[in-house]
C-alpha cells in the first residue's frame, strides 16, 4: 500500500513540473502590467523601476521561473504585489473557508445524490426514476449564479430563513457558521449531486442485474438487505473514487459560488488577484489548487484499493 502511494506520488512529479511551467507561462501572457495596476494614480518612473527590480520583473522568464520554483519548494510562494503579505499566509488563511464550503457541499451532494441514485435504480422506468433523472438534469444545467440569486431572494430575503451571504468562522459559532454556509453549499452541490445520482443509478443497475444479487435473493434475503448490503456494497466502490475526484472539483469550482454569496474564501482570493494582476497570489493559489487536485487523485486511487477486496487481498 505504502509502495503504491509512493509510486503515485512519483508519477505526479512530472505532472507538477509541467503544470508549474504552464501556470507561470500563462501568467506572463496576461495583458496588462502589474506595476501599472498597482500604481493606479502615481506613475513616478523611478518608483516603477524600483518595483520592477524588486519583483525581478525584468529578468529573463526562465530565470524568474527557476527563482519562483526554488522559493515555492521552501514554502515561500512570494509576497502579494498588492498587500505585501506572504502568499502562503494568505492561502492558509482562506483555505479553511473554502474547505468548509466544499466539504459541506460534498456531504449534501452525497446525501442527495446517492440515495436518489439508489431509488432511481431500484424503481427503474417508473415515475420516480423519471423524476430523479429530470431533477438531475436540471441540477446539471441550472447555472449556479441563477440558483444562488433565487435562493437568496426566496430563503433569505422573503422568508428570512437563512442569512443571505457572508461568512462566520466555524470556530466562532459552529451552528451559525453552518447555517450561513447552507445555501452556498447547496448551490455548489447541485451539479455534483446530479452527477453522483446518475453514476449511482448506473452502478446500481449494473450490480442489480449481476448473478450474485440473484444468489442473495435466492438465499431469501429481504429486499433492503439485498439492495443496501449486496448491491450498494459493490456499487459504491467506484462512487467512492468518483466522490474523491469530485471533491477536488468542488474545491476548485467554489470560485463562482463564493462570489455570489460574498464568502471571503479561496475563490475571492483568486478573483481579486486576477483583477489586480497580483501574479504571486494567482500563481500560488493555482499551484496550490493543482497540488490539492493531484492529492485527491492519489487519495482516490488509494481508496479504490481500500474498498476493493479483490485488490486488497490478491490471490
Amino acid at each position: 500500500m505504502l509502495k503504491l502511494i509512493a509510486r503515485r506520488i512519483l508519477v505526479a512529479i512530472p505532472t507538477l513540473i509541467i503544470l508549474s511551467m504552464i501556470i507561470f507561462g500563462l501568467q506572463r501572457m496576461l495583458p496588462g502590467d502589474p506595476i501599472q495596476t498597482m500604481m493606479a494614480e502615481e506613475s513616478d518612473p523611478q518608483v516603477i523601476a524600483f518595483l520592477r527590480e524588486k519583483y525581478r520583473l525584468d529578468d529573463p522568464v526562465p530565470v524568474q521561473y527557476l527563482a519562483w520554483v526554488g522559493n515555492v519548494l521552501q514554502g515561500d510562494f512570494g509576497r502579494s504585489l498588492r498587500t505585501g503579505l506572504p502568499v502562503a499566509e494568505m492561502i492558509l488563511q482562506k483555505l479553511p473557508i473554502t474547505v468548509q464550503l466544499a466539504t459541506m457541499a460534498m456531504i449534501m451532494a452525497m446525501l442527495i445524490g446517492i440515495p436518489a441514485g439508489i431509488l432511481a435504480a431500484v424503481r427503474k422506468n417508473t415515475v420516480l426514476d423519471y423524476i430523479a433523472n429530470a431533477v438531475a438534469l436540471s441540477g446539471m444545467s441550472i447555472p449556479n449564479f441563477w440558483l444562488g440569486i433565487i435562493l437568496i431572494m426566496v430563503l433569505a430575503v422573503s422568508w428570512k430563513l437563512l442569512p443571505a451571504s457572508g461568512y462566520v468562522p466555524i470556530t466562532q459559532d459552529f451552528w451559525l457558521s453552518v447555517r450561513t454556509m447552507l445555501m452556498p453549499a447547496f448551490v455548489l452541490s447541485t451539479a455534483v449531486a446530479a452527477y453522483l445520482m446518475r453514476h449511482t443509478r448506473s452502478a446500481m443497475l449494473g450490480v442489480l442485474s449481476s448473478d450474485y444479487i440473484r444468489t442473495a435473493r435466492a438465499k431469501g434475503l429481504l429486499s433492503k438487505t439485498v439492495i443496501l448490503k449486496h448491491a450498494l456494497g459493490n456499487a459504491l466502490m467506484p462512487i467512492v473514487t468518483l466522490s474523491t475526484l469530485l471533491f477536488g472539483d468542488l474545491l476548485a469550482g467554489a470560485v463562482l459560488t463564493e462570489q455570489i454569496f460574498v464568502i471571503p474564501g479561496f475563490g475571492k482570493l483568486i478573483v481579486d488577484a486576477v483583477f489586480t494582476r497580483d501574479y504571486a497570489v494567482v500563481q500560488g493559489v493555482v499551484l496550490f489548487t493543482a497540488i490539492g487536485f493531484i492529492a485527491m487523485n492519489i487519495l482516490a486511487d488509494v481508496l479504490y484499493i481500500v474498498v476493493n477486496p479483490r485488490l486488497r487481498h490478491p490471490q
Binding site: 449481476s210 448473478d211 450474485y212 440473484r214 444468489t215 442473495a216 435473493r217 435466492a218 438465499k219 431469501g220 434475503l221 429481504l222 438487505t225 449486496h230 456494497g233 459493490n234 466502490m237 476493493n308 477486496p309 479483490r310 487481498h313 490471490q315
Partner: protein
C-alpha cells in the same frame, strides 16, 4: 426408486404458463405440469432456450415481474401454491425450504463479502441463532462439501478460490438450511471437465444423504441416467414427455425425446437421421398452433401443425403429448 410413487408430491406444478411482456402471441412457458416427490430427483432436459432456467427461476420467485408474468397454473409446494404467496412469504421459503444452485460459480458469489459471511448470512436469515452457532454450522457445511481447510476458506473472498471451490461453497450455502427441494441449474456446465464429475457426485451424494428432493437441469444424458428418478423432457416451453428414467431411456414415446436421446436405431430407417434433430426452434411468434415440435418432426402432418396433441399415458406416470403416440404403432406400420 419408483416404489415411492404413492407418497404425496413435494412439488406439483400444474398447467403452468408464463410470459414476458411484449410477447403476447404465444406463451414462453406453455402449460407445463410435473411433480417431484420428496427425496427424489427430477431431471429437466431439453435444448438450449426451451425454458428450463425460466421455469426454475419462476419456481424460486426470482423472475422480475414485470416483465415476467405467470399466466395460469399452480405450483403446489407442500400444498401451498407458490404463485399466490406474497413476496415476503416467498422470501421466507427461499434458501430455507427451496434452495438453488446456479450455473456460474465465478459470478454467483458476492465479490466483496467473504465466503463464510455469505453462508452465515443465509443461515441467520432463516434461523434465530447466534453468529457463533451460524459460523459453526457454516464450517460444518464447508467440511461437508469437502472444501479443504474450511477455517481458512471461511475468511476467503470468492476471487481467492477456484471455480470448483466456489461451486462447492455455493452448494454449502444452498444446503445450509436443509432445504426440502434443491434446484440445480446446470451446476457443472461452467466447470472444468475433470471437476464436473466430482461436483455432480457431491451434489448427488448430499442430496441423497439429506433426503432433499432435487430438480436437476442438465444437458448431459449420462448424468440423467446416473442420478435421475424421473425425467421431464422440455421442448419450446412445453413438456413433451415425462416418465421414470427407465421409461424415458428404454421406451421413449415422443419423437423429440427420441431425437434428443439419439437412440432406437429401428427408427432411423423410416425417417433418416432423427438422432441429430434437424432445423431449429421457431421463434415464439412463428410457433405452430398445434404441436410446437411439428416444424422439425419427421412424423408431422397437417393435424400436428393445427391442433394441440392429446396427452397419452402408456403406463401410469409416463406421459407423452403427441398425436403419434404410441410411437411403436407408427414405426411398425412403416
Amino acid at each position: 426408486m419408483t416404489g415411492t410413487t404413492t407418497s404425496q408430491p413435494l412439488l406439483s406444478v400444474e398447467d403452468f404458463s408464463l410470459n414476458f411482456s411484449g410477447m403476447e402471441k404465444a406463451n414462453l412457458i406453455d402449460g407445463i405440469s410435473f411433480s417431484v416427490l420428496p427425496g427424489q430427483t427430477l431431471c429437466l432436459v431439453g435444448e438450449s432456450g426451451c425454458g428450463k432456467s425460466v421455469t426454475s427461476l419462476a419456481l424460486m420467485g426470482l423472475l422480475a415481474s414485470p416483465p415476467a408474468r405467470v399466466k395460469c397454473g399452480r405450483a403446489l409446494f407442500n400444498g401451498r401454491d407458490l404463485f399466490t404467496l406474497s413476496e415476503r412469504q416467498r422470501a421466507d421459503l427461499r434458501g430455507n425450504e427451496i434452495a438453488m444452485i446456479f450455473q456460474e460459480p465465478m459470478t454467483s458469489l458476492n465479490p466483496s463479502l467473504t465466503v463464510g459471511h455469505q453462508i452465515v448470512e443465509g443461515i441467520r436469515r432463516h434461523n434465530a441463532v447466534s453468529s457463533e452457532d451460524a459460523r459453526a454450522r457454516a464450517l460444518e457445511m464447508l467440511e461437508l462439501v469437502r472444501i479443504p481447510a474450511p477455517e481458512k476458506r471461511f475468511d476467503a473472498y470468492p476471487h481467492q478460490m477456484s471455480g470448483g471451490m466456489r461451486q462447492r461453497a455455493m452448494i454449502a450455502m444452498a444446503l445450509a438450511n436443509s432445504p426440502k427441494l434443491l434446484i440445480a441449474d446446470e451446476p457443472t456446465t461452467a466447470l472444468d471437465v475433470t471437476i464436473q464429475a466430482q461436483i455432480l457426485a457431491l451434489v448427488s451424494r448430499l442430496q441423497r444423504e439429506t433426503g432433499t428432493a432435487m430438480i436437476l437441469i442438465t444437458h448431459d444424458l449420462s448424468v440423467v441416467a446416473e442420478v435421475a428418478d424421473r425425467v421431464a423432457v422440455m421442448y419450446a416451453g412445453r413438456i413433451v414427455e415425462t416418465g421414470s428414467v427407465e421409461e424415458i431411456f428404454s421406451d421413449p414415446q415422443h419423437p423429440y425425446t427420441l431425437g434428443l436421446f439419439g437412440s432406437v436405431p429401428s427408427l432411423g430407417r423410416r425417417t433418416g437421421a432423427l438422432a441429430t434433430i434437424e432445423g431449429s426452434v421457431p421463434p415464439l411468434e412463428k410457433m405452430p398452433a398445434g404441436c410446437r415440435f411439428a416444424t422439425r418432426c419427421p412424423f408431422a402432418d397437417q393435424r400436428c401443425h393445427r391442433e394441440a396433441p392429446p396427452r397419452y399415458e402408456p403406463t401410469p406416470g409416463h406421459q407423452v403429448t403427441c398425436w403419434y403416440a404410441p410411437l411403436e404403432d407408427h414405426v411398425r406400420a412403416a
